[in-house]
Symmetry: C2
Subunit: 432 residues, 2 copies
């Protein structure tokens, strides 16, 4: 069966999965956990081959660390599954209960979205996390993991689907795509796939968004800002900019542009410059910043950039810097050049902070703390499927809740609209 | 200033509107109501010209009824504005409050989506409803109404923006487009417009969806079904199918296909056929239905259709009919040929009804009542901007709530992620 046909079958199975009981889904999760525990040797063996191949291709140590799936990572995903089992059933939550008239009752009930297409980086633990989030939320899914862990993914997926066959859920509710060429087919399955969740590089996500009519949830880039206000605590501003830039540079919530209020430039810039060069961060700035820096620190270096280039995402030990006249200019800059992901103000003035947080049009706005906090785990959401910069549906870190939609159920006893139009009957709208 | 430039300015103004107080927005609504009351003569005069032009073009009476804006419709929209003012402020609702660690607090707060593009049919009252919903919800909007009421729209819009100039809200938060050619420019404003809401014919909405990368909320077609189960109350099934088909044929929640369980065909079809022909409804059916009908009612007429044509939307006194073997076949038919809008089961069996409502993948599922009930007014939502068949963001009838998104605000006191990664500090996640 080709992949499009399989996806069509999964779509049909999705209604059965959506009406499965929470106990059946938890039971399937327990079976998945048991299968992973008892079959882990096959996974470790497959992973060893993936890691050896990655070494042969000279992939960096940090990438290889992510590819690895060992006893420690297994414990992590098993722990995640136990937590998922504890969570209340997300299906069938009553979001609204209203009597419209006698024996005519309206309910808004949470239900799964349907069939998800999730494309994610080479991280075997992500495959388990996403599969189990989908099982808990009652969503079918088509999974495509990074090819560097193809062998590990295959071994994990076999254990998971083997466990599903022993459960009362439709066994074809999870599908795996192994070939990159099949991604194009996946993107063409509008009508059968309800939502695509791509994770990965900016260019990859933009490719996905441009090549499908299926709704896409996620974010392409993370051009995050810190605005150091004239009312900032200097040491706090230094600490937070350093953390946001260097604690982990290759992630979407690392800061890329620092906006410094002109009123504190003379005091702040020399210490800031010293800290950033000590941490091996290269600064980029427009003519105004470069000249100011030169005047304050004659031996300094800064790569000159054009005012139109401030949307750059470095994901590295590099950082754009700009001087601004005011909070309003900072907000305007962020709303124009940013990616609506995570943006921060450092200030001692609460009113100023409130104005910044209300007018910056981003999924996450921070006050006196690092942009690196915008993350499902750090927000206490448990596992996350990604971070959304869209304003529709889920915004910010997306967990279980973002995989749900709702439907209206109207229970009647023979009511016709004609009677309400001609006045024979009247609505009385009473929330239950 | 051309329209793209004006939209860019509205985008910049949207952050001010988003941070305006509920009292300022209610005050603006009061000023709009006063302006409409005191300036109504100009609107009535403009409307008279629109109606005369429509008569000269031989538009139908039902269309002209919709174009008309008189004292009665004015009272209706003024009543709507008073109700909007009474509603609680939708901005800044705390949807989550959580202490992540000491002096590190996370809030999820409702906020406006930003700038909406709303394209709607020739109904002057819709212009007022949409404008005032946008003011209440703090969204900027670009409005394009049907050209048949261009003069009335212009007069209404002048009064509304005149009132906004007297208020504390940005006066350019509402824009109007008068030329159809400008719609194309509107659709190209991704980045400045956050959401397009199109209302109108199937082909019009499909054109919009195919010609923009901006998210679109709404529905193209309404292929609604009623499944008459073998456990249906016969008279109730007759009453509800008649109401759903004929109470108002040109609307999206009118029924287009009746699925009849084979087990009751002999008893149900003759009465159903007589009722529908008495109401001047033409039936369409596949070979199986046509043969069954002929056998039961030798003088009957039915237009033969192919099994692949069951996605037809008539919006008229016409109806597709099909025989099905079971509830499962009915559900599969609806999920395959339907438009995920509003679908109903008639049965006396609660379990069967529950299975139908859980497995039919539609925004609105009904049990023993007319599909015509799926409507913001009848659900008690007050004014609606449309009905969404999307599963993301808002689904079903969309009121004020569907015009909101949320943002995460994180209030810190100098926290860095590095401390939580190296174990110096730990999250304690305490919901406030």
């Amino acid at each position: 069966m080709d992949i499009k046909e399989s996806i069509k079958m999964a779509k049909l199975a999705s209604t059965d999965l959506a009406s499965s009981s929470g106990e059946d889904r938890n039971d399937a999760l327990r079976k998945v956990a048991n299968a992973l525990r008892s079959g882990c040797d096959a996974v470790f063996a497959a992973n060893k081959l993936d890691v050896e191949a990655a070494r042969a291709e000279n992939l960096s140590d940090s990438v290889i660390k992510r590819l690895k799936f060992d006893e420690h990572k297994l414990e992590g995903v098993l722990d995640g599954i136990s937590q998922l089992i504890q969570l209340p059933d997300p299906i069938g939550k009553k979001l609204l209960s209203r009597e419209l008239d006698k024996d005519l009752c309206l309910y808004r009930l949470s239900c799964p979205i349907g069939v998800l297409g999730v494309i994610f980086e080479a991280r075997p633990d992500a495959l388990v996390q996403i599969s189990t989030l989908c099982i808990k939320s009652g969503n079918c899914a088509v999974l495509k993991g990074g090819s560097e862990t193809a062998r590990t993914n295959k071994a994990l997926f076999e254990l998971i689907t083997g466990a599903l066959k022993e459960s009362r859920l439709p066994s074809n509710c999870l599908l795996q795509i192994e070939e990159r060429s099949q991604v194009k087919e996946l993107l063409s399955c509008s009508g059968d796939i309800d939502l695509i969740i791509p994770r990965g590089s900016n260019s990859f996500v933009q490719y996905i968004m441009a090549n499908t009519t299926i709704p896409v949830m996620g974010h392409a880039d993370g051009v995050c800002h810190i605005y150091v206000s004239s009312h900032a605590d200097k040491q706090m501003a230094l600490d937070i900019t350093l953390d946001a830039k260097t604690q982990y540079t290759s992630v979407c919530n690392a800061v890329e542009t620092i906006l410094i209020d002109k009123k504190i430039a003379n005091d702040f810039i020399p210490a800031f410059y010293k800290q950033m060069t000590d941490a091996h961060v290269t600064l980029h700035g427009n003519r105004e910043f470069a000249d100011t820096l030169k005047a304050l620190c004659p031996d300094s270096e800064c790569i000159l950039m054009d005012d139109s280039e401030y949307h750059k995402e470095y994901l590295d030990y590099e950082c754009s810097v700009k001087l601004v006249d005011s909070l309003d200019e900072a907000v305007k800059h962020i709303n124009t050049f940013g990616s609506h992901h995570s943006d921060c103000i450092i200030t001692k003035d609460n009113d100023e902070a409130e104005r910044f947080m209300n007018t910056v049009d981003s999924a996450n706005v921070m006050y006196n703390c690092s942009t690196r906090f915008s993350d499902g785990y750090r927000y206490g959401f448990g596992a996350e499927v990604g971070i959304s910069t869209s304003k529709l549906h889920a915004r910010g870190p997306v967990g279980l809740e973002g995989l749900m939609t709702y439907k209206y159920k109207l229970y009647g006893s023979g009511q016709k609209v004609a009677d309400y139009v001609n006045g024979t009957r009247k609505f009385h709208f009473k929330d239950l």
